[in-house]
């Protein structure tokens, strides 16, 4: 900047040097940002102000991020203010964000600044497509937005306006309008806001309820309202099995054999395993876990807070409760399941519910259920297998709560007695044992590598093709880990491999890392 700048007498035109109130609404298409915009414009006009709003309802409206912008100020001696059509970074009084990441985006656009901006944002999330398609966990970190809000906003009003609106039978725009009124940034009375809503016809009552709830929430800083209570899932009466001394025995073993820090996860794992098969299977789980813990101890696991045992407790349980037809049929026919769906649908008295499952069993799944020997014999007869597959392999619409279908599922769900002898169990067990062995060997020399190997189990998931893809990624990853196992930084590579495998479904990233490993190993 130049030094020779001089103080210039700029004739002030009284109020005219003021700038208009500026409000930016950042939302996704279809969130009712247009309605909210119209309300605010009407509110200002009702007070004799000149108000201007703009929006871009092009393709962004189709679920993309979009922005509505309003400026308003009183006229001066009959002269209308000249209002801008877009928000200027650093010059926005109120930013209203209808979703939490959109609040983050508004900060990145410079719309939220500590000298003037009141940020009114709903902290609920609507995930973007990029977050949803990741085979692992692609959900963005909300904490980063919270942190940035603390830096950028002059005043922040953050709560779940979506939940509040739904709880009041309305939509988020009404709750946000209430939050704006409650924030008191505009010099208009609460009643004048309500007048605007009342002037609209559709859903005015529900909008007013949501408005008032949000207003009160902002004014009184009342705590977050709890989500509407779901109807209790049907409680099963305590069964005779509850008294099964073997279960108590397992519980006792767990507390005796495992260090305290990993007991909680061990208990969750034990529950899952017993629920999957039976009490004896729970014992098997504890047996294997016990061996792994022994390996952990002798590898000096105490120093690592028994991270190896902890990972084992979690992933061993997952490995033992593989997804087979029996499990799916069992889960679909449980009593709690229907209660859960009824709760989600908010089913009321006098309504009748039916559900249809979309199942596509293949011969592979049937083979998996058969006794291992018989299945292997069948597997060697491609002609017969093909003939059978043509009969089995098709999409089936299963009406869960129609008796014939329910009975079929119920029977399949009850086949757990056959499970231990099935081909699938044989395959899963062999695969599991190999993995456990590899991890146990690794932990002796490289503790972290052992843990990483256990965590690779996360890669196995899905059904049918998805499952085979997951499995092949798992196998590829383990094979690659074997290549680097003797290295000191093997654990780092294992982690890198696993993370890459979870990035995309095709496994391109994983292949990339494997290429790198092969280049030096």
């Amino acid at each position: 900047m130049r030094d020779e700048t001089v103080k210039l007498a700029l004739p002030a035109a009284g109020d005219a040097t003021e700038r208009p109130i500026s409000i930016a609404i950042v939302a996704m298409g279809g969130q009712g940002g247009g309605v909210l915009t119209d309300w605010i414009v009407q509110l200002a006009e009702n007070h004799g102000w000149v108000a201007q709003s703009t929006s871009v309802p092009g393709v962004a409206q189709r679920t993309g991020a979009t922005i509505y912008y309003i400026e308003a100020m009183p006229p001066l001696d009959g002269r209308k203010p000249i209002l801008s059509l877009m928000p200027t970074p650093g010059d926005v009084d109120v930013v209203m964000a209808a979703e939490f990441m959109e609040a983050g985006r508004s900060i990145l656009r410079g719309l939220v600044t500590p000298d003037r901006t009141t940020l009114i944002a709903s902290n609920h999330r609507t995930f973007a497509i990029g977050e949803k398609i990741v085979p692992g966990n692609g959900i963005a970190d909300k904490g980063a937005v919270t942190g940035a809000i603390g830096i950028a906003a002059k005043t922040e009003i953050i709560f779940d306006m979506n939940a509040l609106a739904i709880a009041n039978g309305s939509v988020i725009s009404a709750a946000m309008f209430g939050a704006l009124a409650g924030a008191g940034v505009l010099s208009f009375s609460r009643d004048s806001y309500l007048d605007v809503i009342r002037a609209g016809d559709k859903g005015a009552q529900a909008s007013i309820r949501a408005f008032e709830a949000a207003f009160d929430r902002v004014q009184s800083k009342s705590p977050e309202p709890t989500a509407p209570a779901r109807p209790e899932t049907a409680k099963t009466p305590p069964s005779p099995a509850a008294l099964d001394p073997r279960l108590a025995g397992l519980a006792a073993r767990l507390t005796q054999e495992l260090p305290e820090a990993v007991q909680a996860i061990g208990r969750a794992g034990l529950k899952k395993v017993v629920d999957f098969q039976d009490v004896a299977y729970g014992g098997e789980y504890l047996d294997i876990l016990g061996k792994l813990h022994a390996a952990d101890r002798s590898a000096g696991g105490a120093e690592w807070n028994f991270a190896f045992t902890e990972a084992a407790a979690k992933y061993l349980a997952n490995a033992m409760t593989y997804d087979d037809v029996i499990r799916v049929a069992d889960l679909k026919t449980r009593s709690g399941r229907r209660a859960r769906i009824e709760g989600e649908l908010e089913l009321s008295e006098g309504q009748v519910l039916q559900t249809t499952e979309f199942m596509h069993p293949r011969m592979e799944e049937v083979m998996g259920m058969l006794p291992a020997g018989f299945a292997r014999w069948l597997g060697a007869k491609p002609g017969l297998l093909g003939w059978l597959d043509r009969r089995v392999n098709k999409g089936r619409r299963v009406r869960t709560y129609a008796l014939p279908w329910f009975l079929a599922l119920y029977v399949v769900g009850g086949l757990r007695g056959l499970r231990r002898r099935s081909l699938r169990h044989a395959i899963e067990t062999a695969h599991r044992d190999e993995w456990v062995k590899f991890a146990t060997e690794a932990v002796r020399t490289n503790y972290q590598l052992g843990v990483e190997i256990l965590q690779c189990r996360r890669l196995v998931k899905g059904y049918s093709d998805t499952h085979s893809r997951g499995l092949s990624k798992f196998d590829k990853t383990l094979a690659a880990i074997k290549l680097v196992a003797p290295r000191e930084d093997a654990a780092d590579w294992a982690r890198r491999l696993r993370e890459a495998a979870l990035k995309d479904s095709a496994g391109k990233e994983l292949d990339g890392v494997i290429q790198t490993i092969k280049s030096f190993a």
């Binding site: 108000a51 679920t63 877009m86 017993v274 629920d275 026919t333 979309f358």
Partner: protein, 719 residues
């Protein structure tokens, strides 16, 4: 039936003297047309002027009362050609479209119209889709105005000014026998504002009068030697007449002090943001009391040389504020000044960016730099201008950049186009990737995640035409996608007809969702609704067969993913010669919901047995791989984190915006994904038989469930 109804807003079109209009810019424009006494209107929808077409469609009664003819046009060329009604007859007419794309399509007709000239006032309203939020290539309409010699109006974004310019524009058109373009930018189209109304004016001469008294004059037809005459007329008569009119009627505006060392020349559309920039610099108040002389060009073509010269004469320097490139105005003004040897220095794109939105922030920088170069004293005590850089460079905010996910537009919940692309994905996994030509329309979202299908888009209805080079024998065939809107816009001839003629072996998918959905759901020839005013229900399949297509498959329910996949596979592998045309039809879900939702609510309220469908996910069955989402992208299909220490990855979840279209189930079945999806059918007002059936079944089921629950190890014992 358009996505949005303007039934209430249309009433505003009846306002008269003494009333104040309050509403959207596009409605103000429509009102101005009626105040100008137009005899006919037409156009082609597309953001940002879709609403104008919708308003006109909804305003039948108002238009009928005034005797105004409204025609929806097949495309922009058809709309432009319609203006020929004003060539021989003193009829005022107006058409509207999205620019520059629409102007590209219309340019042949426009050039002919401008050459022969017009008798009645003609106005082309172009929605300039430039800058943030635009859906098209970034170009300027200005070039078209100059090359064909059509006057270009670029009014200040203010309803009063826009309405006045439209009224004056018709006069200008008549005085100079030249069509006029009115350029309104996206935000101005959707801007809420107000103006003082006048009464509507019935056209003095009507279309009927013209039909009953036909006239012809070969001199107006573009054919040598008349065409050479036209060029001379343009130069000798029409241009001078226009310049005189613009000057005499003061269509361009002078603001601020008469004298000044420096001044700013701008397109009218830039005015509001320039004032805001000046305000930040302490050089204007909020009401436009500027301390720097401004010359606001509400008419950007022709440039009024004498006005420019007068404005620049006593100045050291001027700044040209002109959005987009090339800098036509800056060049023109330089010529004016050089010819007259006026010494004012011309600044413009040297201090302002060559391309992109001229926001207040951008202009603030440009104007400041201009003043620093030319008259720094004006910057005075340099009041602090708004500045977000401190916040933006804070590490916490920097970190946010890596976190906030992109949110590209996508197909709506329940969109019938989703299963088409899911099927294409399934075929891709079997037969490998293919060259896919995309087209304009909602289906263009296929190029984005999760589908990532489509290599090029060359223009509305040109998807099929853009595969025409790929007409050779190879291991794979080309695939072209086009919507029903594009099909009727020109795709039938430019794409399908051409493919038939050239014996193109490729696959052509026509996505028929009963409307031009991307532009807001306007009816077209093949719309299924019965319309009293239009002839709808004309079959795309018949049209394709009529033009010579032999291999044509109609899929009536796009949600049948398995059938969609098999049909595509057949099309890609069949030995049959010539184009393989698949017409995939299902109603646009946005429109369907708008139509059906009130009916369902009413039926439920009236006690009629109604089944409502919704999809759900069994979270304990879902393994969190998200393969289903990679084949869908439905907004209602999302993920949620379970409160389960044994699970790392979030599971799929369907929220209550689900409309039960069926895609999830079909995809899970066709792709053999996983059995976690279910469809929940809720019967409202069930019959006695429904209730009886359910009761009996549930009694047995309940007994069986209790039986198994008793045998299950009670896990509470482990808690």
């Amino acid at each position: 039936m358009a996505e949005r109804s303007f039934a209430r807003e249309v009433e505003d079109l009846r306002l008269g003297d003494g009333d104040t209009f309050r509403g959207e810019g596009i409605l103000a424009i429509t009102k101005a047309l009626l105040q100008s006494g137009v005899a006919y209107v037409g156009g082609y929808q597309g953001s940002p002027i879709s609403h104008l077409m919708d308003v006109l469609a909804d305003a039948k009664d108002v238009l009928d009362d005034l005797g105004v003819v409204f025609q929806s046009s097949a495309n922009e060329a058809a709309a432009a050609a319609m203006l020929s009604a004003s060539v021989m007859y003193p009829l005022r007419g107006a058409v509207a479209w999205k620019s520059t794309v629409g102007t590209n399509v219309a340019s042949d007709a426009l050039a002919n119209l401008a050459s022969g000239g017009v008798t009645g006032g003609t106005m082309i309203i172009v929605g300039e889709d430039y800058g943030e939020g635009s859906s098209i290539m970034q170009e300027r309409t200005h070039a078209f105005a100059m090359k064909s010699q059509i006057w270009l109006l670029d009014p200040r974004p203010d309803h009063e000014c826009i309405v006045n310019l439209i009224e004056k524009g018709f006069e200008l058109s008549e005085v100079s026998n030249t069509p006029v373009m009115l350029e309104v930018r996206v935000r101005a189209c959707h801007m809420h504002g107000s103006f003082a109304c006048k009464d509507n004016v019935k056209p003095a001469h009507t279309i009927k009068d013209a039909l009953n008294n036909p006239k012809r004059d070969v001199g107006r037809i573009v054919l040598p030697p008349a065409a050479y005459e036209h060029e001379q007329e343009k130069i000798r008569t029409r241009m001078p007449a226009a310049i005189n009119f613009v000057r005499d009627n003061r269509l361009n505006e002078w603001m601020g002090p008469k004298q000044g060392k420096v001044g700013i020349i701008m397109q009218g559309g830039m005015y509001n943001n320039v004032i805001r920039a000046l305000q930040y610099l302490g050089l204007s108040d909020a009401y436009g009391n500027t301390q720097i002389p401004l010359y606001v060009m509400n008419v950007t073509y022709p440039v009024i040389d004498t006005e420019v010269a007068e404005f620049c004469l006593d100045k050291d320097a001027v700044l040209i504020v002109e959005e987009g490139q090339p800098e036509y105005l800056e060049q023109a003004i330089n010529t004016v000044l050089r010819r007259r040897d006026i010494q004012a220095r011309v600044h413009g794109k040297d201090v302002l960016p060559m391309g992109g939105d001229y926001t207040a922030q951008v202009l603030l920088g440009g104007v400041r730099e201009f003043l620093e170069k030319t008259d720094p004293r004006l910057l005075g005590n340099r009041p602090p201008a708004p500045d977000a850089t401190a916040v933006l460079s804070h590490p916490e905010v920097e970190k946010l950049k890596q976190v906030v996910p992109a949110r590209p537009p996508g197909l709506c919940t329940g969109c019938p186009e989703r299963p088409i692309f899911a099927a294409m994905k399934l075929v891709e996994s079997e037969l490998g990737e293919h060259h896919v030509s995309a087209d304009i329309g909602c289906h263009l979202f296929s190029i984005l995640p999760p589908f990532n299908i489509g290599a090029t888009t060359m223009g509305f209805g040109l998807g099929p035409a853009s595969t025409s080079a790929f007409n050779v024998k190879a291991d794979k065939r080309s695939i072209a996608v086009m919507g029903d809107g594009g099909f009727w816009h020109n795709g039938l001839t430019s794409g399908i007809g051409n493919a038939v003629f050239n014996k193109h072996d490729g696959v052509f998918v026509i996505v028929d969702n009963y409307y031009t959905s991307a532009t807001g759901g306007q009816d077209i020839l093949s719309s299924r609704a019965v319309s009293k005013r239009r002839n709808t229900n004309n079959s795309i399949v018949q049209a394709v067969k009529g033009i010579g297509g032999k291999w044509v498959r109609q899929i009536d329910r796009t949600y049948d993913v398995g059938r969609m996949r098999d049909t595509l596979k057949e099309a890609l592998t069949t030995k049959e010669q010539g184009p393989k045309v698949i017409v995939a039809s299902s109603e646009c879900m946005l429109n369907k919901q708008r139509r059906v939702k009130p009916q369902i609510s009413k039926a439920i309220k009236d006690g009629v047995r109604t089944v409502k469908e919704r999809f759900g996910v069994d979270e304990d069955v879902c393994t969190g791989d998200h393969a289903c989402i990679r084949l869908s992208g439905c907004p209602s299909l999302s993920v949620k984190q379970l409160d389960d220490p044994l699970r790392d990855d979030p599971v799929a979840a369907i929220d209550n915006s689900c409309v039960g279209c069926g895609n999830c189930g079909e995809v899970a079945e066709a792709a053999v994904l996983c059995p976690s999806f279910y469809r929940a059918d809720v019967i409202h007002n069930p019959t006695g038989w429904d209730r009886f059936k359910s009761k009996v079944a549930m009694a047995v089921i309940g007994w069986l469930q209790r039986r198994r629950d008793r045998r299950r190890p009670a896990l509470e014992a482990l808690a």
